[in-house]
Amino acid sequence: MKFQLSVSAGFAKLAKLRNENMFVEIPTTMTVSGNEDDLFWKIGDGKDSITMNLPPSSLNQQISKHGEEDLVFIANILMHRSLDSSIIKKQLAKTKAQMIGVLEEIPLEKATVLIQPTDSLESLRAVLELIKELEIKYVAITNFLPLLNNQRLAINFLAEISSTLPIDSVLYLLSPIPHTYWPILAYAGISVFSDGFANISSKQAFYLTDFGGDKLDAISEKTCFCEACNSVNQLSELLLPDQKNTEKNLLEKHNEWIVSKKIREIRNSLRNQDLRSYVEQMIYSNVFSGASLRLLDKHHIVSIISRTPTWKTSLIKHITEYSYYRPEIQEFQKRIRERYQIADSKKIAVIFPCSARKPYSQSRSHERYIQTLGSVSNRKRGFIQELILTSPLGVIPRELELVYPAAHYDIPVTGDWSHEEVQIAAGQLVNVLSRKKSSDLTVIAHVSNEYIDLCKEAERQLKLKFKYTAVNDKPTAAASLSKLKDELNSTLEKLDITSYKPDVELVQTIADYQYGLGLGKEMFADNCKIRSKPNQPMFIMQDKQQIGVIHPETGKLNLTLETGKILAKHKKYFVTFNNKELEGSTLFSIGVEDADLQIRPSDSVVILNEKNELIGVGNAIISGKDMVETKRGPAVKVKQKI
């Protein structure tokens, strides 16, 4: 069976499990099938399916019956909760020997292992090491139900597995978990869910709904129009046997319908590159989901970010307080803190409020601000740095307004900022202003209302005085703009002249954001120019030669062989290929010798040979860590080669 990744989204992934003439797309469901003495698992919710045999016991391990199944259990690891780690360790050594023996008969591509929650992190790590060592790709989890009341253990367990195992591993959850928990569990890395809960709840006359379920007789009005529900007048009739299928009643059919809807919604949100929003939407169905998302955002964000594409076009809706801590947001803020610095030549920082329209410069308000800035002498314009203040991203330098997710978010604006929002944004502002090398910066805050509180907070922390230029809380009013102009001129008067090269600043700032502080200056000389038409790729030209492209939809800078040399020299965002010559347009993981662990899917990277010489540039498909640890599947899409 082949594993074909479509997209990774943190611990979640959309992929195909492919056999000769059929495939199953994950995330998907699995169903207990067959007769009482001949049960097996059927994996897949579409027309094709994969089969899996039943797991053996963890204590008296004997490989269970198997025949032509696509997946076969080779072990059930004894690691239950409340077991001493010494017993787990001792038994693991025996199980390992047994597994190696079994693998002589059962091909590795079918091998599946069953694990379960344990109280000992040390034991879990030992188990995962063994799974990695034997290169087992299919890992099933059971005894998970008690963890629905223990989010901390649940998330630590799943995050440890998801971040340790290579990206082409597939996690199966055999426990019959209610469908309302699936979105967050998919987000934590589960790819295949047992649909058993639908049947179990049917047997108790429970009627499932999108966000939960209730006793059938407690539901007063029909809200579902599935085939089963449509065939009855009264909900109580659902308990009658289905005319077409005497083994099942209509309630079972309805519950199966609800559950299969859920898995499709998860897949769709992955396809749209926004599982996160779906998870946030589903959070209100149980406390487990909310608590788990918080734990993931707080404690496992580094691993999640490493498998989250850097460059996306999907719109982020910040509706809940959980949105402040989305991986994209946290990563953006981090890069501003680590990879952005106000140039030393800048003597004035002007802070503007954000606008609903993105990129900001295309909004009516920002058009006016820019016009006002343009009215100062061109020889002094270069002293001014524009900063845009927003929630939840914090501070966005004008040069980065195109970059994902700065131009891709939407937030309900009411004029009231929560305490949390103020803290996040003020923190970012303080950080950016305090890292300016020389302290001769004049800060003009052209903001109003709630932004003033935020700036006051920053002033307090920085022990610095801002100049406020918005009159009557109306930054776009003529009086305000004229005050801004006056304030700018009075500061600029005292300054000499300087050059103003917006194209160079834009390109260098984006390059720094992408690869690290200072690299932009090395990659792009002061005479480079941008050639572009609205909404078209922006070509970066130097001495009439194209040395880079910026994509307007994502703000991503694509490398060329010319700019790649700089990354090769610094050994940053590199992938080392273990052969001399690149063939075809894809570099596969099997050919990756080493890679920068900073690389995330969709990053533009350089390809080096074993002598560290540049041999090509391309786009990463999986993270740097995954390229090193995986042996299956594509790693880099090659764009240019030497």
């Binding site: 039943l54 909760r81 409340s82 005894n143």
Partner: protein, 372 residues
Amino acid sequence: MSETKGILAEQICSFKKKSLQKRKARDTKKAIASWIEDDRLINGPGKALVIILNSKGCEWGLSIDGGCSMCGYSNETSALEITTDDLIIQAKDSIEKYSTKEFHSVKIFNSGSFLDTNEISIEAQTAILTMINKFESVSEVIVESRPEFVTQTTLRKVRKSLDKDKQLEIGIGLESSNDLVRINNINKGFLFEDYKKAVKTALSENTRVKTYLLLKPPFLTEKEAITDTIQSAIDAIKNGSRSISINPLNVQSGTFVYNLWKNGIYRPPWFWTLKSVLLEIWRQINKQKLAEKVDRILSDPSGAGTSRGIHNCFKCNKDFNKAIKEYSLNQDNTILNNIICSCQNLWLELLRQEEASRDYSLQIVETPQNLL
């Protein structure tokens, strides 16, 4: 298989050691309890006097590296030394207390082995049985022992204290006829071979055997538990045990199983499971023409109907508990066949789901409203 030390032995011991430290000092001159109950005799219903002696406890349970995963009986024994006289006084007082009542059998339990002379000296053993022998109405005496103490020497002495027409029966906790289950899931410390030898010895000394079987040891699925107990009963009968007593596991504090249960990964068996085990054993007995070799198939579950004992749903627990008692007394399946409850379908679905998932925590989905 000759190894008798189970995979979980060390941890079972460490749990046991902790709870043994909490043992109370009991009055050594008083039995733990005694009462008269309805009982199934070899030939029909009758009354039994039950005496629970306060002894030092099970040798295996108290040994440094022994003890069973589900057993907390050692916690109820005495931390103080108990003399032969103490034991005789305990038995004497209990018997005298009920001497005016009518009873047909006497069951002596001592949370250990009656035939272990280190626990109950040979003097105490014979003295107690001699006291019982005086009651003409008593036709059966039942004691319990691990197989290693069922020796010809001890049995001959014991048997002599009872008249020939008084039936002596030794209850042996085989739990399962499968060595792997008995050793690894339970840590019982002996093999099926040892049991078979003990049965043979008992039969040769005019002593019958009652075999205790543990329904649903930890780490078996409900379905495996059903198969295991049915097979064990047939194996025991074929080896000469005329009585079978099926003990659905009840969760006792301080034990290894208690910790699993607290973590949600052990659920005591369903009444439906016990019912299907009993019916299938009888079916097998008839099919394999073993009826002549069987006196009774009993079950007297502890903690029945509670979350720590055998249970179904709250609607049918009481009815089932009553039905099992009636069945045991009359050895009549009809009553079991008459019970109807909608949770039977849930049980069947859970059997299927558990078999496929090896998830021991499915009791959580028995109340879906708590999850949704």
